[in-house]
Amino acid sequence: MKPPAKSSPRADEQITIVCLYCGRPQQVGSRAMSLPCRFCSKNLRVEDYLITGYEARRVMETCGTVTIEPTGNVVVSRITCGRLILRGRLKGNVVCRGPVVIEAGGDLRGDVTAASISIVPGARLEGRYQIGADGIDDSTGGRVRN
């Protein structure tokens, strides 16, 4: 797994993230990789993940974007992320505060809770889905309802 190549942001550039635990939005430096939440003090990963090969792990958590490329094959118990782009294979449950994008060739086996989802023809899905207000509530800053 490696961070995606991107143009180097300016040091003073700020981005808004939403805490995965307390759901509160906050501004952080765009170069930040991980930091404690200003409100609940839990440690947050902010970096984006680009997965191009086989990856097996228990949990994957980031406030950023997880991208699984066509050659990527991920087996995970749970992914909690700000955004998910799936072009390869993923076996595991997903909790996403932003959109889940499943492109042609994407294969997702697992339960999904997300604010919105976009599925391109050619994708394969199997699992239980909670999309929209019943899952993640955008109006409350993306908090998961318990």
């Binding site: 959109p99 919105s116 989802i117 976009s118 599925i119 023809p121 050619g122 994708a123 394969r124 899905l125 199997e126 699992g127 239980r128 889905y129 909670q130 999309i131 929209g132 207000a133 019943d134 899952g135």
Partner: protein, 138 residues
Amino acid sequence: MAEANTQQQDYATIIGPDVRIKGSMSFEKAVKIQGQFQGDINTSGRLLVAREGKLEADVEASVIVVEGDAKGALVATDRLELKPTAHLEGDVRTPRLMIETGAIFSGHVSVGPDVAKDRTPRPAAKPAAAKPEPQPAR
């Protein structure tokens, strides 16, 4: 006005907003549900649950478009579309699924080129047994 007329022509059958139906329905072309339907739908055509429509049914159709409320197991052999105003609770099987931002969906999903073909066929609705005609007394 012209657009509304064209939309009406697209749907050979329209179940109006003040109509409530319980039972099973089959058709060949396209049906738009603006009222309430409860039961089973089995068709090779297209089904639209309009924004004001309410559907509580197990549906098998070629194309299913949901703009209103729907509950039940939906099988679309071509595609299933959830529009931004859609609220769907139920299981979905289709080769192509389109969920637009704003749609609310909760249920099990099976999407893939073969899923609609793989499903075990539902038993066909039994026709009502014809009552034997009374024989004249001899």
